[in-house]
């Protein structure tokens, strides 16, 4: 069975209702290594050697973070900057990550309505995620459709519960293996029929 490395970056985790619920649901699952970056490196001093060995030991990487200013919180960016080393993750002989899968799991305050050509943010979420997609591609990894929870500010409790169940199912699917063709049909991981059956909008 493949192993998942859940890289979680949230500078104000204690205040986040949605992320607390999502993380609580999946952090102890079999096959999942939960790695809380802000708890591990409060001083931003990332242990590159350890991070590289963690990556080597896992097949699927999830970048789980709130969507801040159309991007990730700074520690995850720092992680990308220092861990994905030249001649290791990319460049000549840089094939340590070849063939691994990456998925972004993000939460946004804005609803789907504001993230589109007509909305106040002008572009859909997937376009804002392009840097992550390209980063993955440059390292020879497959970038999967993102798992997205939108409109967190006004998310009712029962919807949140449905999202946690969907996240749980998504991780099960990843561990069991999902076909590329099925994935390529959807903009969001949430839209997979296996997840939508669980009543997630």
């Amino acid at each position: 069975m493949p192993k998942i490395l859940l890289l979680f970056a949230h500078p104000r985790f204690e205040r986040s209702r949605v992320n607390k619920a999502l993380i609580e649901k999946v952090r102890k699952k079999d096959g999942v290594t939960f790695h809380d970056l802000y708890e591990q490196y409060p001083d931003f001093n990332i242990d590159v050697v350890m991070e590289k060995s963690l990556l080597a030991n896992h097949d699927i990487i999830i970048w789980h973070h709130p969507f801040y200013w159309y991007s990730c919180p700074p520690l995850l960016k720092q992680w990308i900057d220092v861990v994905l080393e030249y001649k290791w993750a990319y460049g000549p002989e840089g094939n340590a990550l070849q063939g691994k899968q990456v998925m972004s799991a993000i939460t946004t305050g804005g609803t789907k309505k504001v993230y589109c050509a007509e909305g106040t943010n002008n572009y859909p979420v997937n376009e804002f995620l392009l840097p992550f997609e390209q980063t993955a591609r440059l390292c020879g990894m497959d970038y999967l459709p993102p798992f997205v929870v939108m409109g967190t500010h006004s998310l009712p409790d029962q919807d949140l519960e449905a999202y946690t169940v969907a996240y749980d199912t998504a991780i099960d699917l990843l561990l069991d293996g999902v076909s590329e063709t099925q994935l390529s049909k959807h903009a969001f991981f949430n839209q997979l029929p296996q997840l939508t059956n669980k009543n997630v909008k």
Binding site: V48, V82, Y86, Y90, G91, G140
Partner: protein, 630 residues
């Protein structure tokens, strides 16, 4: 049989030593153990103790006084003021209902109205000694039920005073004609006797004010002075003198000594000597209370029981039932949960020690005759003996059948308290620790042994307690049994080691975080099994070195990274070197190796990310890569 005082002391102590552990073994409260010990050594079983049991009873009542002082110490004036409604409300309701019902019952059985009234007054009162001792032993003081018990008991302690004032009015005998031979304080001539009621009332208020002022302006400065002498037993002596003094003043104006002691305790609750006083008085209280319970046991007159078994058991059952029903009703009125109601009703159903005082007083005034007095004294002693047994039956057999249990009583408050932290040493190091913790709402219990500094810090608004933290009793009164964390911020390395050794041995559940002066102290602490060791100079010296480098033109961000790494590698090396024998060639060799290794790691870190030949971002290279990936 009982000659010398030595012999008596041995009998009482031996009784306690034998019976209490046995009672504990069977899961009974220590109170019951003492009571049984008293019955055994009393005149009707082994006969070691005869009539003098009564004198011991009065002597040992001083244990109740000390206990109320200690309870006062734990109640800050603010929270005492918050309790006023429940004290007057629950206490008042219990008084009126019990008095009325009991009066009706005794009148119904043909007792004279004066006799019924006096007996009913005695019946109203529950045993502060038994109930509070049991509550403390089980750690239930903080629950709703504990607070309610305490409120009612405190009200009873206050109400005893007017009761003692009313009883003489019932007597046909001239009050002033009573001789002062009675052994009770209450039957002595008071300073205030013969003065008009108004003046007496004024004197009572004045004495309460006096206690409050003395607490602030006499006791605390006195304790500070004594603390400076650094002779430990003087502090014990001062503690005793305070309690004795309070009791004496209260007796002189005709107030209950227990109440005076309680007030004194409340006044001193916010002082820095709180824990010091607690740890000094605790053994006295324990022994005297034990003695008191044994004396109660010894005073049970089995001949009277044997003569009228039906009547005595009838009254005992009737009284317990009546009190329990009334208290259950009061608890329901004040919206306690079902299980709390039951605990309270059963807990307070006995007749208390003040009944001895009231009844003897009424006997001297010819309101009660000898037979009535003896009967009620036996009833009182028997209900007190039954109290712990009933409590046990309630807890084991009845409560488990009733839905709610303790878990509901645990609030957020309880969670906050379960993270209890003790901070030892409040100098430059400790005060910084304490301030930062406080900014996050964590109020550690702070101990320091320098009385001058404690005084100063308290003036600056810190809640610091005076005392030597290497004494187990002081740590215990600071609450180490329930503590999760002990922070040692002590300056003297030897004291630190003594403290750590003590805590690790006696309270292994407590996590220790310790300040170390330097590398060698850190080694010792690590070798003692302390995981969290903080060298006081490490961070600031690295910070200084970083600033030097910055001054010379190095980029600050890179230096900060390297400083963090330096500290990390140094901590790791410290742990590797901890168990190496020091002062040897080998140690120096190893240390040199460690330093070299550390410098190499830092150099590697500095080079990390510096890439000289990364053409990866050139457009040509990008195109080539893209073609390769496709």
């Amino acid at each position: 049989m009982s000659g010398s005082i030595l012999f008596q002391a041995i009998i009482f102590l031996a009784g306690a030593i034998i019976c209490v552990p046995i009672a504990k073994r069977f899961g009974l409260s220590s109170v019951l153990g003492y009571l049984i010990a008293g019955i055994l050594i009393g005149p009707y079983v082994l006969g070691f103790v005869g009539e003098e049991g009564d004198d011991i009873l009065h002597f040992a009542e001083f244990g109740v006084v000390i206990m109320l002082f200690l309870i006062g110490l734990e109640i800050e004036p603010k929270s005492f003021w918050k309790m006023r409604k429940s004290i007057v409300g629950m206490g008042g309701a219990q008084l009126i209902a019990t008095l009325a019902l009991s009066y009706a019952a005794f009148s119904y059985y043909g007792y004279d109205w004066k006799v019924s009234l006096v007996i009913s007054m005695a019946v109203v009162l529950s045993s502060t000694a038994i109930v509070l001792q049991t509550l403390k032993e089980k750690g239930l003081m903080e629950t709703n039920y504990g607070a309610a018990s305490f409120s009612i008991l405190l009200f009873q302690d206050i109400i005893v005073i007017p009761m003692l004032a009313i009883i003489p009015l019932l007597s046909s005998k001239d009050v002033s004609a009573i001789d002062t031979a009675g052994h009770e304080g209450e039957s002595q001539t008071y300073l205030l006797d013969g003065l008009p009621i108004g003046v007496q009332g004024f004197a009572v208020i004045l004495s309460v004010v006096l206690v409050i002022l003395a607490g602030r302006y006499l006791f605390v400065p006195m304790l500070r002075l004594v603390a400076k002498a650094k002779v430990r037993e003087l502090l014990s002596a001062s503690a005793l003198i305070i309690v004795l003094g309070l009791a004496l003043v209260m007796e002189l104006v005709g107030l209950s000594p227990a109440l005076g002691a309680f007030l004194g305790g409340v006044v001193l609750a916010t002082s820095e000597f709180k824990h010091e006083l607690e740890s000094n008085l605790e053994p006295f209280k324990g022994l005297l209370l034990g003695l008191f319970f044994m004396a109660v046991g010894a005073s049970i007159n089995f001949i009277i029981i044997a003569d009228n078994p039906m009547m005595i058991s009838g009254i005992v059952l009737g009284v317990i039932l009546l009190k329990a029903v009334v208290i259950f009703g009061v608890a329901a009125l004040f919206r306690l949960k079902m299980d709390q109601r039951l605990l309270l009703a059963v807990g307070l159903a006995q007749v208390g020690e003040f009944a001895f005082v009231l009844l003897s007083f009424a006997f001297q005034l010819n309101i009660l005759d000898r037979a009535q007095l003896d009967m009620m004294l036996v009833v009182t002693a028997v209900t007190m003996t039954l109290a712990p047994i009933l409590g046990m039956i309630n807890e084991r057999l009845i409560l488990p059948r009733i839905g709610t249990k303790e878990s509901e009583a645990r609030t957020m408050d309880h969670i906050a308290r379960s993270h209890k932290t003790i901070l030892v040493g409040f100098g430059h190091f400790g005060s910084t620790v304490g301030r930062f913790l406080r900014s996050h709402g964590i109020e550690a219990t702070i101990l320091d042994h320098d009385s001058n500094r404690v005084d100063l810090l308290r003036k600056m608004g810190f809640e610091v307690y005076y005392g030597d933290a290497t004494r187990p009793d002081l740590l215990e009164s600071a609450g180490i049994e329930e503590a999760e964390l002990l922070i040692s911020a002590v300056d003297n390395p030897d004291t630190t080691l003594t403290l750590v050794e003590l805590v690790r041995e006696k309270y292994p559940h407590v996590k220790i975080m310790a300040r170390a002066k330097g590398r060698y102290d850190a080694y010792e602490l690590l070798n003692m099994g302390v995981q969290n060791v903080y060298r006081e100079s490490l961070e600031s010296s690295v910070k200084l070195a970083s600033d030097v480098l910055a001054h010379m033109g190095f980029r600050k961000y890179s230096i900060m990274r390297q400083a963090q790494n330096f500290i990390k590698y140094d901590e790791e090396s410290l742990r590797r070197m901890a168990d190496q024998p020091k002062d040897t060639e080998e140690y120096i060799f190893k240390a040199r190796e460690e330093i070299q290794q550390q410098e190499k790691l830092l150099e590697d870190d500095l080079k990390r990310g510096i890439i000289d030949d990364d053409h990866h971002w050139d457009s040509a290279e990008m195109r080539r890569q893209k073609g390769k990936l496709k």
